[in-house]
């Protein structure tokens, strides 16, 4: 399967979903009116959400889908599967999407992070039994986040307007980043007609249920305590992405780890 084919298929699906939802919800209420009061305008600019009416409709639809399908499945999964097993499955899911993180570390120009990720992936895929046990974390290579949206952020691209997409809170930049990340996921290149394609679907669906099960309590608390959950999620997401991008940007560790540097000092190469 060619790269373009995978990309166009994913983008086509997203565009279809987005446009059908947009037409279903009515195009007249897509953009929010710009307030005239200076204080309200400052809040409007800080929220960076000109398409708020449309985003809110998509948010409500997602909430309904979550209430009747995803949340009950996540609760059942948490009830039926012991914590240790869930932890291992979570490790496996993390390991499976780490090739994307590696490519983004390279794209962000952070060789140390990319090297750590590569070592981590090799350790967990072998000693860690295909990612089920996070051995790499125990030996000093913990998981770190990165995606194409964050890579774009480190290239100086601003997030653009906030968007609420079917996969959750996002922005124009992060939404495009999501599409780009699909190109770097090896699981999208599994040939058709093999049993592995079913594995790919199972992996994606299971990943959603597992991910939701990890946030059951937090989202319940949000629904209980928040007066406007949409605005709360928007604010938390925007702050979190900013902090994640800053953490990558401010990672100025040397390319080679300290232990290698010291070893190299003690064992310099012999001139021929």
């Amino acid at each position: 399967m060619s790269l373009c084919h995978v990309f166009s298929k994913k983008v086509y699906r997203l565009v279809c979903l987005f446009t059908s939802l947009a037409s279903a919800t009515g195009c007249s209420a897509i953009k929010a009116p710009v307030p005239k009061d200076p204080a309200a305008l400052a809040d409007y600019k800080a929220a960076n959400d000109p398409y708020e009416p449309l985003n809110r409709k998509l948010f409500n639809l997602t909430l309904k889908f979550d209430k009747y399908t995803l949340k009950p499945m996540a609760k059942a999964y948490r009830w039926a599967v012991p914590h240790v097993v869930r932890n291992s499955l979570g490790n496996m899911i993390t390991t499976m999407y780490e090739p994307q993180v590696f490519f983004n570390d390279v794209g962000a120009g952070k060789p140390r992070r990319a090297g750590d990720l590569f070592a981590r992936w090799c350790i967990n895929m072998t000693v860690g039994l295909g990612g089920l046990i996070d051995v790499a974390k125990m030996v000093g290579f913990p998981h770190h986040v990165n995606d194409a949206g964050l890579t774009f952020a480190n290239w100086g691209i601003s997030p653009g307007p906030y968007l609420f997409l079917p996969m959750g809170p996002s922005s124009v930049r992060d939404g495009l980043g999501y599409a780009v990340d699909q190109l770097f996921s090896p699981w999208n290149y599994v040939p058709r007609g093999y049993g592995l394609i079913s594995f790919n679907w199972a992996y994606n669906s299971f990943g959603m249920i597992h991910g939701r099960s990890e946030h059951l309590d937090e989202l319940d608390a949000l629904e209980r305590d928040s007066l406007d959950p949409y605005a709360t999620i928007r604010s938390a997401y925007q702050q979190m992405r900013k902090a994640e991008a800053a953490a990558i940007r401010n990672d100025h560790r040397a390319t080679v780890p300290a232990w290698y540097y010291h070893w190299y000092q003690r064992h310099p190469p012999h001139p021929h």
């Binding site: 809040d43 702050q239 994640e244 953490a247």
Partner: protein, 212 residues
């Protein structure tokens, strides 16, 4: 020789002056840093001691409330969370809001008592931001991944008080402010709607705890 002695005196004077400057300019921040470290350490130790003590949940809550009241600046957080609407609120609205916010935040903290069980924490670096100290902590919980949190300590009230908590890059008070601001804006800028909604949340909480 005289030249050498003079130079030595001059060097000593300059060194003393430089040292004095360093002490004058840097001591308050170092002092504040140490204060913030011991403040968060004390608060955390007390919190863990209460949560891990072999008493009932209601007794734990009763012990936790004065500790939180003493160490968290509820009024400062409340004012921040109301954002631009604080300026336009009447005195009565402000008083009612602060009272409700106090109860609301206290409920949110005490409801999470179970989450703090078996918590261990280590204090990391302390930085300054906008006149406040940011104390980094790494928190380890039972059967949970460790998390890093930043505590924002303010000295504006004369003594150290927690005015914000930042987890995974998200500030608690900023997120809360976005929540309130969006809610009031969507209700035509009417602060009373927020007060009634907060009152409802607080009443629901009383009802749910009395039923348990």
């Amino acid at each position: 020789m005289t030249f050498l002695i003079n130079r030595r005196i001059l060097t000593t004077l300059i060194s003393t002056f430089a040292l004095g400057c360093i002490l004058i300019f840097f001591t308050p921040s170092c002092f504040a840093n140490d204060n913030s470290r011991s403040f968060i350490q004390n608060f955390g130790n007390h919190l863990v001691a209460i949560v891990d003590s072999p008493i009932s949940v209601s007794e734990k809550k009763q012990k936790l409330i004065p500790l939180v009241q003493q160490n968290v600046d509820f009024n400062a957080i409340g004012r921040y969370c109301l954002g631009r609407f604080w300026k336009v609120a009447t005195t009565q609205q402000k008083a009612r809001y602060l009272k409700l916010f106090h109860q609301f935040l206290m409920n949110a903290i005490t409801d999470k008592l179970g989450d703090y069980r078996g918590v261990q924490f280590t204090i990391g670096k302390i930085t300054q931001n906008g006149g406040n100290d940011l104390v980094e902590t790494s928190i380890t919980r039972l059967q949970q991944p460790s998390i890093s949190m930043q505590w924002v300590v303010s000295y504006a009230s004369g003594s150290p008080k927690i005015v914000d908590v930042i987890g995974e890059g998200a500030s608690l008070r900023l997120t809360q402010r976005s929540d309130y601001s969006a809610f009031i804006t969507r209700h035509g800028g009417n602060i009373n709607v927020l007060l009634n909604a907060l009152q409802k949340k607080v009443s629901e909480h009383v009802h749910s705890t009395s039923n348990n």
